[in-house]
């Protein structure tokens, strides 16, 4: 039996805080694959891959990847239709 190996989007907060000036984990995200819409913190986060991979809570589509090399950080937002952040 294999144990579930994912965490939730909360655990990406540190890595994302180096890239964004707002807290992405509390933002509302929409999956480009299935249309699931919810708080980014509820996405499934895989940390065993090189870097971080966030997958949709609904359809397992890749929402976002963050990979840090010795010189650069790659941010891949392929699976997100949008991130909604409160403005007030």
């Amino acid at each position: 039996m294999t144990e579930a190996t994912y965490l939730d989007g909360n655990a990406a907060a540190g890595a994302m805080s180096e890239l964004f000036a707002m807290d992405v984990t509390a933002a509302t995200a929409r999956c480009d694959g299935c249309g699931w819409t919810g708080v980014f913190a509820e996405a499934r986060l895989y940390v065993d891959a090189p870097g971080l991979v966030a997958r949709c809570h609904g359809c397992d589509n890749v929402l976002l990847r963050v990979v840090t090399t010795p010189t650069d950080t790659y941010l891949d937002l392929r699976g997100l239709t949008y991130l909604r952040v409160p403005t007030s």
């Binding site: 144990e3 579930a4 190996t5 994912y6 965490l7 939730d8 989007g9 909360n10 655990a11 907060a13 540190g14 890595a15 994302m16 805080s17 180096e18 890239l19 964004f20 000036a21 707002m22 807290d23 984990t25 509390a26 708080v39 980014f40 913190a41 509820e42 940390v47 065993d48 409160p86």
Partner: protein, 250 residues
């Protein structure tokens, strides 16, 4: 979390270990002095990074155990067998040592005094840590918000914050219930995991409008969240934080 017009981007900084406290055979609390710490909300976490002499780096995320009082912050670390980071934090690091950290982070799994409705806390193992910060934040402002804690542990010796929880449980507004999965103390007949019956009897009911915070290993969180939804709780009011099998959140 509170947003300001322009929030600084976070980067790594050096904290100093001001004190250490043994909590259980495998868990230790680190009291950290962090220059210019901006304060944090109960439930937030921070990342710890260790660098080996050859430059190899490993980072992990740990929940903050303390409510912000303007002074030091506390982390409680449970040792993960064969872990890369936790054995150093639990057994090696000593008072006066530096520790590289980045935080506070996380704006979802947080509780602020003044948030509407009762608060249901459900923790498994070291998943108690952010919930304990919420209980301390609740006590610090003498909040009268009703709070209930269900804390699942293997055995009595596994309980983190034994004394602190006793003090907190003395409040009329806080109900603390321990759940033993392997071995219970004398006088406690129930041994077993949190199940539908226990939630029915001891958690707030769906109509109470509570916000529920569930923290623990991923299988624990999945099970409890499913039980809550099956019992009629609104999944939008159930917030979760998972610890990975390798000891995270990382």
């Amino acid at each position: 979390m509170e947003r300001t017009a322009i929030r600084r981007r976070l980067t790594w900084q050096i904290a100093t270990v001001a004190d250490v406290r043994r909590e259980t055979a495998t868990a230790r609390t680190l009291v950290l002095d962090v220059p210019d710490w901006p304060g944090h909300l109960a439930g937030q976490h921070l990342d710890v990074r260790l660098t080996a002499p050859d430059g190899y780096r490993a980072s992990r995320s740990y929940s903050i155990a303390s409510a912000w009082s303007g002074d030091t912050i506390e982390l409680t670390v449970e040792q993960v067998p064969d872990g890369e980071v936790s054995p150093y934090l639990v057994d090696v690091l000593k008072v006066g040592d530096p520790l590289e950290i980045r935080g506070p982070v996380g704006g979802w799994f947080v509780w602020k005094p003044g948030m509407e409705g009762p608060v249901q806390l459900i923790g498994g193992g070291s998943g108690i840590v952010p919930l304990y910060a919420m209980l301390r934040a609740h006590a610090a402002v003498s909040s009268t918000t009703p709070v209930r804690l269900l804390y699942s542990v293997r055995r009595p010796a596994s309980v983190i914050y034994v004394e602190g929880l006793k003090e907190i449980a003395a409040s009329d507004d806080v109900d603390v219930r321990l759940v033993y999965t392997r071995e219970a103390p004398a006088g406690e007949p129930r041994v077993g995991r949190i199940d539908a019956d226990l939630i029915e009897r001891h958690a707030f009911r769906p109509e109470d409008g509570a916000t529920t915070y569930v923290c623990g290993p991923t299988p624990f969180v999945e099970t409890v969240a499913d039980l809550l939804v099956a019992a009629g709780h609104d999944s939008a009011k159930v917030r979760t934080e998972r610890f990975g099998p390798t000891g995270g959140p990382r």
